[in-house]
């Protein structure tokens, strides 16, 4: 066995970026889609203080729901993989 397992490090970096930075980015896209529809902008001068997240545009809400589902599905799959790898006898 070598001192550094380059394959493992390579995988941790790539999958780490995909899961650790990619998934929150998809969540952020969902938030962005959710806010479409103008209700947040309609607050006018106060808009900077508004913490209303849902904009009210149906297409936006659907897109947001899709993004959030992708994130949840990815997490569920990840947990399943960790379980599978961590219980070799259960294969």
């Amino acid at each position: 066995m070598s001192w550094i397992n380059l394959t493992a490090i390579w995988k941790i970096v790539v999958f780490g970026l995909l899961a650790g930075a990619g998934l929150p980015a998809i969540f952020a896209l969902g938030l962005l889609a959710l806010s479409k529809g103008g209700r947040t902008q309609a607050a006018g001068a106060d808009s900077a203080d508004s913490d209303v997240v849902v904009g009210g545009n149906p297409a936006g809400i659907a897109a947001a729901a899709f993004c959030f589902l992708v994130v949840l599905a990815a997490i569920a799959w990840g947990i399943y993989e960790v379980y599978k790898i961590g219980h070799p006898a259960a294969k």
Binding site: M1, S2, W3, I4, N5, A8, I9, K11, I12, V13, F15, G16, L17, A19, G20, A21, L23, P24, A25, F27, A28, L29, L31, L32, L34, S35, T40, S47, A48, D49, S50, D51, V52, V53, V71, I75, G78, I79, E81, V82, Y83, I85, G86, H87, A89
Partner: protein, 380 residues
């Protein structure tokens, strides 16, 4: 075989697991508490439950600890007990000073120190120690920082057209999810270390064979101990991580937590017993680097890094000392004396901690350069 001694070792190991829990609550929850995504009490409750669940998720790291680091033929129950004493002592001291040091390194350092004292350096599997513990310890915070910085940059980039309020609100909700994942990952990674040590004790005492997995009662008791420790909340460490290192906004919190969860879960799957503390700290620094204008308090980071370097050798020295003492006294009595001393240390640290109390009331007070907030919590 000595079943009385075995029981003592198991109790000590669960004690370590408990300190592991409250020392590390901050890894998962500090950023959520700091941004107000979760109230302090809800945060520690949620984290406790998820640590419990996480402990059942994987056994890869337990195997590394149980049979990968020391020669199980040369280790005795006394050695394991002394090693645990070293780990617990270091955990309590760093907690007192609010330093988020690695519980894993405290444990591994303690066991290796006592092994060297008892059987000499050849009983340690140095190659595995370096390849599976030391190198991951150096690399993991860097990888976590890279992932967190990337995530932070992406989140601010994507959400820049949102109003300030909507962004804070939205990412606070996201943080609940990402912090939950860190708690799950923590249970998966850290509870296994104690499982590994108890399994090591069972192997040494010939209760199970050298290649065994952790028995179910070991998994369950470790899961419970770490979860109760987590629930009690290491407020001192939470404060350092959440307020001391970087002033954190909710998108940064979510980026830091997601990066930590991903890196910890991936590494656990490979059987690397890396430190969740190192990863969480790397992530928090990363979110400071990924956001323009954010300030990383490098003096706090430097103090932590110093503690990290000293963790393995210091816990090792205490472990070696405890082993030597137990050896001089001899037999079961030696271990009992060790453990009485350990309880005395724990009581002293607890009493000292009362003088500068940090709890759920003052954990989020402004950082004034020191651990204990300027105003005492008595007013609250």
């Amino acid at each position: 075989m000595n079943d009385f001694l075995l029981v003592l070792v198991v109790i000590t190991a669960l004690g370590f697991d408990f300190t592991n829990g409250f020392h590390d609550t901050g890894n998962a929850m500090a950023t959520s508490i700091a941004t107000g995504a979760l109230s302090p009490r809800v945060a520690v409750g949620l984290s406790g439950v998820l640590n419990l669940v996480g402990a059942f998720l994987s056994l890869a790291v337990a195997a590394t600890i149980a049979s990968g680091l020391v020669d199980t033929n040369l280790v005795t129950l006394t050695v394991v007990a002394a090693g645990l004493a070293g780990g617990i002592t270091w955990n309590l001291l760093t907690w007192l000073f609010g330093i988020p040091s690695s519980s894993s390194h405290a444990l591994i350092g303690g066991v290796i120190g006592s092994t060297i004292a008892a059987a000499g350096g050849h009983a340690v599997q140095w190659h595995d120690l370096v390849a599976k513990v030391v190198i991951p310890a150096g690399l993991s915070p860097v990888i976590a920082a890279l992932v967190a910085a990337t995530g932070t940059w992406l989140l601010y980039r994507i959400s820049r057209s949102l109003t300030e309020g909507a962004r804070t609100h939205g990412f606070r909700i996201g943080q609940i999810g990402s912090a939950s994942m860190v708690s799950l990952a923590h249970g998966t990674n850290d509870a296994q270390k104690t499982m590994g040590v108890i399994t090591l004790a069972l192997i040494v005492n010939k209760n199970v064979s050298a290649t065994s997995n952790a028995p179910f009662w070991v998994i369950l008791s470790c899961a419970l101990a770490i979860s109760i420790g987590t629930y009690l909340g290491g407020w001192r460490v939470i404060r350092t991580l959440g307020k001391g290192l970087v002033e954190i906004e909710s998108p940064q919190g979510m980026a830091a937590e997601s990066a930590s969860a991903a890196v910890i879960l991936l590494s656990s799957s490979f059987g690397y017993s890396l430190s969740t503390t190192h990863v969480a700290t790397g992530s928090i620094i990363g979110t400071g680097l990924g956001k323009k204008g954010a300030e990383v308090r490098w003096n706090v980071a430097g103090r932590m890094a110093t503690a990290w370097v000293f963790t393995l050798p210091s816990a090792g020295l205490v472990g070696a000392g405890a082993e030597a003492l137990a050896h001089v006294i001899g037999g079961t009595a030696g271990v009992v004396v060790d453990l009485i001393l350990l309880v005395a240390v724990a009581a002293t640290v607890y009493l000292r901690s009362r003088a500068t109390k940090v709890d759920h009331n003052n954990v989020n007070d402004d950082w004034t350069g020191s651990l204990a907030p300027a105003e005492p919590a008595a007013a609250a």
